[in-house]
């Protein structure tokens, strides 16, 4: 196990970014990174500190979150398979410019996970080899997990032709 503050110090030194922050809640350790430094930080975590497994990528829309200042948070859950150490890396994005670097070159697992985030939130991952919708039909034009999209949709689910006995 490498101590988390040691990781923080090293990352601050290597990337030259002083805005890295470490937060702890229960057994989760969360590293908050400005998004310009996201890729170098993740690269160092993988190559320098052995976080060789990408468990999950997800996003949160903070539109109605109390006291939130940024719209989207993107979350990377990492795991070091030899020591069992976990780290959650988080970065924030705001509305017009929803672009992040793709981490597909580091972890191949990012392929589908990033596509899902794109599908559900509309966050674009630059450099992703094949960024298409994954769960919803291609013709779907909205991002359903954003908070301003209604739970029951906008009528898409019933926008289909009806077959009757006589027709079939």
């Amino acid at each position: 196990m490498i101590a988390y503050h040691h990781i923080l110090e090293t990352l601050r030194r290597i990337t030259g970014c002083s805005h890295l922050e470490l937060r702890t809640f229960r057994d989760n350790v969360r590293l908050e990174v400005p998004r310009e430094y996201l890729y170098p930080v993740l690269q160092h975590l993988k190559e320098g500190f052995g976080f060789d497994m990408l468990i999950d990528i997800t996003a949160v829309d903070y539109l109605y979150y109390p006291d939130a200042r940024r719209r989207f948070g993107v979350i990377y859950c990492l795991l070091n398979t030899s020591t069992g150490q976990r780290l959650v890396v988080k970065t924030y994005l705001d509305e017009p410019d929803l672009h992040l670097p793709s981490v597909f070159p580091l972890w191949k697992a990012a392929d589908w996970l990033e596509r899902e985030v794109y599908d559900m939130f509309g966050i674009v991952f630059d450099g992703h080899p094949d960024l298409r919708r994954i769960l919803l039909p291609e013709s779907f034009a909205d991002y359903p997990l954003r908070k301003d999209y209604p739970l029951r949709g906008r009528g898409e689910r019933h926008n289909f032709p009806t077959l009757s006995r006589a027709e079939s």
Partner: protein
């Protein structure tokens, strides 16, 4: 035996014979999408053993089947597939909608799940439950057999007679109270290519189903 028939010869109504044959050799097409599909498998497995009622020949090709069992929720992306498979099945055909999801959307009242497949294809029998117990499915098959035995004819006239609509075809595909956001299908985000010469409402058209 009063007529002096030899043994093993029966006199019966040919219609009845046809019905008897149809009813007791239903070949289901398991359109199993979700959890209900596992219960459907349980019905086929050893404890419940649907073979006792002549409906165990699960064929996965729609061309060979006459009973479609829709087990599980049907979502936006799957519905065109379901309709296409229903069209590929030859007459006579029946449809059982198994489980709350297929009947009405069940617990999934969300943007992606179709709230009841009977909005889009004809359904003969509904099985409630989430998932229905295997006994319920067996009962449904028995009920359907009962229905087939009562209504069928040898030449299959009743299938030709089915020209009037038996589905909720005439009601709007989505009741407006279900649409939370303002707007109707024309403002919905999923659009079919426009086609003016077809006077049907865009939501009722069949764009995806023509065989190419």
């Amino acid at each position: 035996m009063a007529l002096g028939l030899p043994e093993n010869v029966f006199i019966a109504n040919l219609d009845k014979l046809a019905n008897w044959v149809r009813a007791n050799s239903l070949w289901p097409m398991p359109f199993a999408t979700a959890c209900c599909g596992i219960e459907l498998m349980a019905v086929g497995a050893s404890r419940y053993d649907i073979a006792r009622f002549g409906a165990e020949v699960m064929r996965f090709s729609p061309r060979q089947c006459d009973l479609m069992i829709v087990a599980g929720r049907i979502v936006m992306k799957m519905l065109p597939v379901l309709q296409r498979i229903w069209l590929q099945m030859p007459e006579p055909k029946w449809c059982i909608s198994m489980g709350a999801c297929a009947c009405s959307g069940g617990v999934f009242d969300t943007y992606a799940v179709v709230q009841g497949i009977d909005r889009f294809i004809p359904v003969d029998l509904y099985i409630p439950g989430c998932p229905p117990r295997p006994e319920q499915l067996i009962q449904a098959v028995l009920d359907l057999q009962e229905q087939i035995k009562k209504t069928g004819t040898l030449t299959g006239r009743e299938f030709q007679r089915r020209t009037q609509l038996q589905t909720p075809h005439l009601r709007p595909a989505a009741p407006t109270d279900l649409i939370v956001a303002p707007g109707d299908y024309s403002t919905a985000t999923l659009r079919w290519p426009a086609d003016d010469k077809y006077p049907v409402h865009p939501s009722r058209r069949l764009p995806l189903l023509q065989d190419n």
